[in-house]
């Protein structure tokens, strides 16, 4: 048993830790935030050149064929650098394709994602805004979709959109070209401007069936689990950065003739941030490893990680802003960008309460 990165994993982490701040410094994050999609194709090509767009997907589809732990190590660094754009949504869609699509579809779509030629997203939520799959109500009529999806991440940057819908009573997964007739994308300005949300309207849109019934459900569950575990690793990276910024500030900012970090009211908040960050990281890597190894408790591990990190990232943000005082409340300070990401991440794929109830189901109701 060894709970630490291997040398290869450490090398990956190190190169990601150098890559992202260099290729996407905070000035770029702020610039991209102000663009309609927060997607920078040039940056995307550089990421793809590293092979990272296909990091966990099989080599036969031009992926790197690495594991979830490598993904966690990579995306933790993206979270630390607050990289904008459709990496997570593309990962989510690709994981669903990987789990359920036909060989032809994988060669066409998944391989294109792995090579960095396509981006994608998943349209799941509807007006009820519920994350459980049973809440999907949109009805497909044959291979035609009509209805409305909400909170679709990065739809404006996506080349294709996977869409969960009902085919009769069955859950089904469809693929829609983002330029298809009858498709309307309406931006929904939200707290985290680095990852845009959209309302997607379908008016008799032609769609390609990817899977239905149990296969579709399993694929969606797997893809959501993969994306959730990745998101938690990303959140841990964000927390780490907020911790670092805040500790640095507490060391230099002086009040009453001392660095404020010397006051226990501040220092102990930093200690709490450290505890929350380290704990989120442990949980994130365990969830990633559990999914990678397909151990029986993998879903539980994902819910544990997401429930914990959902509160932890927000709390780390709260303390970081508080430690900075007035400066933490300004637009110029980067903290609020992380804080906005924290809130969006808390909501994405189900908040702490949603996952706590899932833990309860998995732990308490199985006896």
């Amino acid at each position: 048993m060894q709970f630490g990165l291997t040398e290869t994993q450490q090398m990956l982490q190190k190169s990601a830790r150098e890559f992202f701040p260099a290729e996407c410094p905070m000035a770029d994050v702020r610039r991209l935030m102000e663009t309609p999609t927060a997607h920078d194709p040039a940056l995307w090509r550089k990421i793809a050149a590293q092979g990272w767009t296909g990091i966990i997907f099989p080599e036969q589809y031009d992926g790197l064929g690495l594991g979830m732990v490598e993904l966690a190590a990579l995306i933790e660094e993206m979270g630390r650098a607050l990289v904008p754009g459709p990496f997570l949504s593309t990962l989510l869609a690709a994981a669903a394709m990987d789990a359920a699509a036909s060989e032809t579809q994988k060669q066409k779509y998944l391989a294109s994602i792995c090579r960095g030629d396509s981006t994608a997203t998943l349209a799941l939520l509807e007006a009820t805004a519920r994350w459980d799959l049973d809440a999907v109500e949109m009805q497909a009529s044959g291979s035609t979709l009509t209805g409305r999806k909400l909170f679709v991440p990065d739809a404006g940057a996506a080349d294709f959109i996977l869409c969960a819908a009902r085919s009769g009573a069955d859950l089904a997964l469809f693929l829609v070209d983002s330029k298809a007739m009858g498709l309307t994308l309406t931006p929904e300005p939200a707290l985290d401007a680095t990852r845009k949300l959209y309302q997607v309207g379908f008016d008799h849109v032609a769609a390609e069936l990817v899977a239905s019934g149990a296969t579709a459900r399993a694929a969606l569950e797997r893809a959501l689990a993969v994306a959730t575990a990745a998101l938690v690793a990303e959140m841990a990276g964000g927390m780490q950065r907020v911790l670092e910024i805040s500790v640095a500030y507490a060391k230099t900012r002086k009040q009453f003739g001392k660095p404020i970090g010397q006051f226990q009211a501040v220092q102990h908040q930093c200690a709490d941030m450290f505890l929350l960050t380290e704990s989120s990281r442990s949980a994130a890597y365990y969830a990633a490893w559990a999914l990678q190894e397909n151990v029986p408790e993998a879903r539980l591990a994902v819910s544990i990680a997401k429930s914990y990190a959902s509160d932890a990232y927000r709390e780390v943000g709260n303390r970081g802003i508080q430690i900075h005082g007035g400066m933490g409340f300004t637009w110029e300070n980067d903290l609020h960008l992380y804080y906005r990401r924290a809130k969006a991440s808390e909501i994405a794929f189900g908040d702490a309460a949603f996952h706590r109830e899932r833990i309860a189901r998995l732990v308490m109701d199985r006896a």
Partner: protein, 391 residues
Amino acid sequence: MDLNLTASELQFRDEVRAWLEANSPRDWKAQQANETMEERFVFLRAWQRKVYEGGWAGLSWPTEYGGRGATLMEQVIFTEETARFGTPPMPGVLGLVLVGPTLITFGTEAQKRRYLPKILSGDEIWCQGFSEPNAGSDLAALRTEARLDGDHFVVNGQKIWTSYGWASDWCELVVRTDPAADKHKGLTVLLVDMHSPCVEVRRLRQMTGESEFNELFFENVRVPAENVVGRVNDGWNVALGTLMHERAMLGAGVQVQYRRQFERLLELARSLDRIQDPVVRQKLGQSYAELEIMRLNQMRAISGIIQRGQPGPEGSIQKISWSEWNQRFQQLAAEILGPYAQLEKGAPSVLDDGDWAYGFLRARGNTIEAGTSEIQRNIIGHFVLGLPKSY
């Protein structure tokens, strides 16, 4: 102990209600949505003048300065009723709540006659020049200096976190007049004409995207020596008096406003079908209890101020309570709204025009502005409980 309004308080309240019913502007919500901050301000000044002409401004102030000589309790009743009506804020709030009471306590007769009536009418808008970039929690470390040059002070320095700075005619400015003295000594409070040459006001952009606060820059700004409040080099006591008024009185308006927020969240929880969720019920029940206790603490504090004649350091529990309550409440609202919580003004699916996403961010400032939670706990520890100074 009698928590019923007295007959005369009841009569007063009914008068207030009748007047608000007849005069409170109906188009405030629309104004908020559509116009710029400057346009809104014109609207608000008109509203304050109406309040003033109705005889409701400076309720508890002496009649000789344009006040009404009413009780502090009547002042609180008025504040609560306006909040209940959802009337617009008074643009001269800092003059009304902070500068006015400070002048009444520490000002000269001439100052009172000169400034108080125009504070009430809204003809002159006031701001506070207290915090500096390196003197936030450690206010006494401020470095803006004023040097006596004949019958004027010459002011140089920078202030930050000044609400209404851009709209102000006057500023209650704390400056250092004796650089050789200890930190808390050598400070003086000056009344500074914001239209003086070489006063510069810059907007500060907050994490919400708005610009509520300003930075003020003073470069050789000349202020007549007669504009000193209290004694030269005794500014710390004058400033502390202002801060205690701030802590004592901010709570009163805030908690009624929070009650409206709470009721709105109940409506939303109902419409989103969350109101029967036992977890949500527990949290809403807790939030309501704390809100009600804030009101009770406020009532006790007001009774105490009436008895003792002035606010004391225990007002810090009010500040801690409302700021931390609102942060918990905004988080609860976000949990109830779910994914909708993150949508900002202008989003097609947004609820309440993005008030909740804005409120979630804005609440982070609550435990920082008007004295951080840490400073409030220091005040309770040292000044209320008598523990040694921890800073």
